[in-house]
Assembly symmetry: C2
Amino acid sequence: MYQVNFLPNNIIIKAEAGENLLDVARRGNILTDFPCNGNGVCGKCRLKIIQGSIDTVKTHHLSGEEAEQGYILACSSRVRGDLTIGLLRSENEESQVMKIESLAEEKSRELLRRAVGVVTQNKMCFGAGIKKEYLELALPTHDDNVADWERLRTHLEKKIGYQEIIGGLSIIRTIPQILRESDFKVTVTHKPKNAESTVIINVEKGNTCDRLYGAAIDIGTTSVAAILVNLLDGHIIAESSAGNVQIKYGADVIHRIVHAVRENGMAELNQAIVQETLNPLLNDICLKANIEKDELSSVVIAGNTTMMHLLLGVYPDFLRKEPYIPGFTGHFLLKSAELALDVNPETPVYIVPAVASFVGGDITGGVLASGLWTVQENTLFLDLGTNGEIVLGNQDYLLTCACSAGPAFEGGGISCGMRATTGAIEKVTIERESFEPNITTIHEVKPLGLCGSGIIDTVAEMFLTGIIDRRGKINKNIHSSRIRFDEYEVGEYVLVFKEDSQIAKDITITEIDLENFIRAKGAVYSAVAVLLSSLGKDFSEIDKIVIAGGIGNNINIVNAITIGLFPDIPLDKYEYIGNSSLMGCYLILTSEDCQTKVQEISAQMTYIELSSNPDYMDEFLSACFFPHTDIEKFPSVRDWQQKNSNSTLF
Amino acid sequence: MYQVNFLPNNIIIKAEAGENLLDVARRGNILTDFPCNGNGVCGKCRLKIIQGSIDTVKTHHLSGEEAEQGYILACSSRVRGDLTIGLLRSENEESQVMKIESLAEEKSRELLRRAVGVVTQNKMCFGAGIKKEYLELALPTHDDNVADWERLRTHLEKKIGYQEIIGGLSIIRTIPQILRESDFKVTVTHKPKNAESTVIINVEKGNTCDRLYGAAIDIGTTSVAAILVNLLDGHIIAESSAGNVQIKYGADVIHRIVHAVRENGMAELNQAIVQETLNPLLNDICLKANIEKDELSSVVIAGNTTMMHLLLGVYPDFLRKEPYIPGFTGHFLLKSAELALDVNPETPVYIVPAVASFVGGDITGGVLASGLWTVQENTLFLDLGTNGEIVLGNQDYLLTCACSAGPAFEGGGISCGMRATTGAIEKVTIERESFEPNITTIHEVKPLGLCGSGIIDTVAEMFLTGIIDRRGKINKNIHSSRIRFDEYEVGEYVLVFKEDSQIAKDITITEIDLENFIRAKGAVYSAVAVLLSSLGKDFSEIDKIVIAGGIGNNINIVNAITIGLFPDIPLDKYEYIGNSSLMGCYLILTSEDCQTKVQEISAQMTYIELSSNPDYMDEFLSACFFPHTDIEKFPSVRDWQQKNSNSTLF
């Protein structure tokens, strides 16, 4: 066994001779973000050997000079002795603060009020049917020696009038102690199934009728957000978010599925989401709200179809194989113990229903929260997270599809891309004359890389300044130290020079990045186009566009239109609503009507499989230009170009 | 760390310095039978040091000579170096063959037929409502891309007409693979809850409608028995039994409860019953019947109230404390996964309902099987296992009580007592003139000790030959090498001299054993008396006595009457029915009517708490004689005595 010491925190992990260095780092949760899951493709597991030597293989991700300086890819290196390793990004937990929209913000609250109002006909009711009853039981004697559970059940039956009262094993297990420690005065939390029967969720000592709590959780491929809700008044009393620890097994759903079907892979992914992500998050919100974890009486969880398969441990391989059939799509009601969630074991966990392999409960929940299904206007709902999902509809119809945009909008698939955490460049402008950039990073530290909104800004600005043409190729006629070409004539634009970055190398956008990005934005735009044309509509008939998801509210809509990601319609038709999946969970958590409604929504949504749609490939190819092959589809861009002759490369 | 080598099998267990030797042996499952759970009381953990030295304390269980020869009690000894230890009994697993009545025997079959016939009005129906459906599903396509679970559920709904089809998580988890490996042709096992909804138990590849199996299990304090049943025709196709591994934590329910409330005690007891007893037993019956464990579609379990609390993990301490209130008594329907049974996780497990803290599901199941509730005759049901439970009744009434007889009838509480395993003396006669005994041992090996029937025989013969008087005191006027007194004038009768035994000491019955035994038999007899008198009846009104339980069919009824354990009524009123608890489980496993019936029986049974009954103590004291203070209650014994003047000590 050797010792591998990771600087700067001196975390020492033991390693076998010949062990893969990525596995070593992963074991210590030191490196957690590998889009390609250790296949040598993404180049993101770059480390520097400070001391010791290692077996490593050459990779195009490292120049000869870098390799000489001791830079390696962890995934391509094997331990052969004691090592001291330098981390290039500050990968320790504290710096990994996700930037996630807060549901407590006024705008989100307004959306919530609106949706709850619509669903419940303005009658705000909370708790989704969960009830509490305070009972004072007779003390047992020789003459009244009924067993504890039967004593409790009989008393409750008489009081609340249900014929059948169902108590799970964990309830029965603790009743003898709870009754005696509370002098036979207890509060029963229960949830009726129907008019005849109800299920006990918890038995607490004393009278706790003034306390009733629940949690709503959105599980994204990249990040996970949770809120704690007082179910007596609907107030959000704590919120928290974290990276999805599964990311160490791959950045996107496809890599996760591939890992899941490996030996022990499902168990590793399940451990990562439940033990390493959800349980710490639940712990955190309960700590913040100063309640016990066992006081959570209801949990609602939404996520994309793959995330829900991995959470429930359902074999996921056929999600990614023709004809893309999920194991399940319907809603699920489980006990938290079945998922190993570290709360009261009988707490019901509601899994929001999905539509198809690539349109999950996060989207049905988002549609519920957006109010899309209540309006007359033709509304487009765009969720741009690690995947891109699109819904078009109104009160009469709901059409949906998903496009394999890849993770570009969350910083994936881009050489210097990263998630929207501390150090990510989130806003960019480029000076028209000097081609010098102005950047803003999250939490205003030295830049580490580019997150989604930063990438969109950079690409749009490169286009508007003429650094790139409509095909995404860099203009060789511009003379600037920021624009350069390698030996194979592949161009790149330097956004941040090495000395100004945290990562010991330049932060650039390369032509390869631009190719990846153009395909991502083309996939989204063309998916919208196909969805519209399948109803015989065109872009002018869109009355409203609702943007949701991990892309964040720093997205510059004008820039997104400029590059042809979003359609060229008036800006006042756009609305950014944040984490609509989490809002949907909130609604379902607080309202039984909303729960019924989301089930109706998932059943009503018509799914269009783009991969089998004959028009999609044509639309996609046409959209793989900035902004589009047909500039007439983007009149604003066309008009801007005509006014600014200095940038007319085309 | 030291090494402790246990001979004769050279099993080496590592031990810490200062570790209790009983814990060491227990860890290796080398010693498993400690009635007192290591409290230095029972003296049954006697070992011999062959090599090495040990810290040990003096005990009255070992003479000075024995201590010098290296004999120790494991529970009173601490490791201080490497050791070689000799086992005095052959404690290895092979020799621990329990002698349990076989349900396959013709007599048991007849009882089963009778009970099933009565319950089901002679219409034999099996499977207790569990059904199988063979389905051929349409293969999914792009146009028919319904998820796997919804595809299966919808098809099943149409075919069998239930509105609600419930599938547990373990079903959904594996459906994607099972469907594709079977070309979407599967057999669904399901159990209807009511007219609207049914619960899926299993989904198997192909058509398996000709296979449907279940298991019935009786969990005794001392031994556990299981049968595997073909639920299509009701045939018992395999059976097996084993010692309850919990015995290493105490021989009786009180010691087990005390252990359960210690730190980690419940987990240890649960591990012992589930992982170390039930799972091997289920494995064994499945192997014998050549079926997969996942093919078990139903399990029915009965046991005394304490055993069921420990199986389900319900806090048991109040079972043994005034006023003796159980955590639960009603029936329970669980999934096997909730109990960690190593079979198909969705398999329903039915726990037979109990009546009170000391009258469990083994008794209600036994009453069901005995047919007691169907007859006009006043019938007494006596279950003599580790506890003694008594039911008196007929088709109109059922009265029950339990007596703390102690484990004497299974060999406990007696210095040379043992369970009915290989080497136990099970039959004894004593020559009238010479006082020489004739013994029969189980599996006809050299004797190790006395089991219940052997103890009853020995005591009765000692009484009939005049070795003891009516108080259980040994006659000092008899001159025999087998009768002797120690320095305190405590007498004993030597049944087997050391050189003829396997245990390196004489097998004897001491006056202390006789005192324990007399209290045990007095407790049973007086409980029956109180039960009768509470209805204003006397012994002559008993029409039938049914004997059940672990005491075994080798019990000599005449001897049991002679010593006053059983009432003196005509022998033809007695019937031994074997393991009636297991029979009850069989009936419930195969018949829904029987399941309903046992619930009715448990609700109908009136429990008499003897400890609060003012008459009980008087009756008990009167019964603490051989056969009784009032010889007129035992006319046969009185007549025999009058005829055999040579034995009239009284």
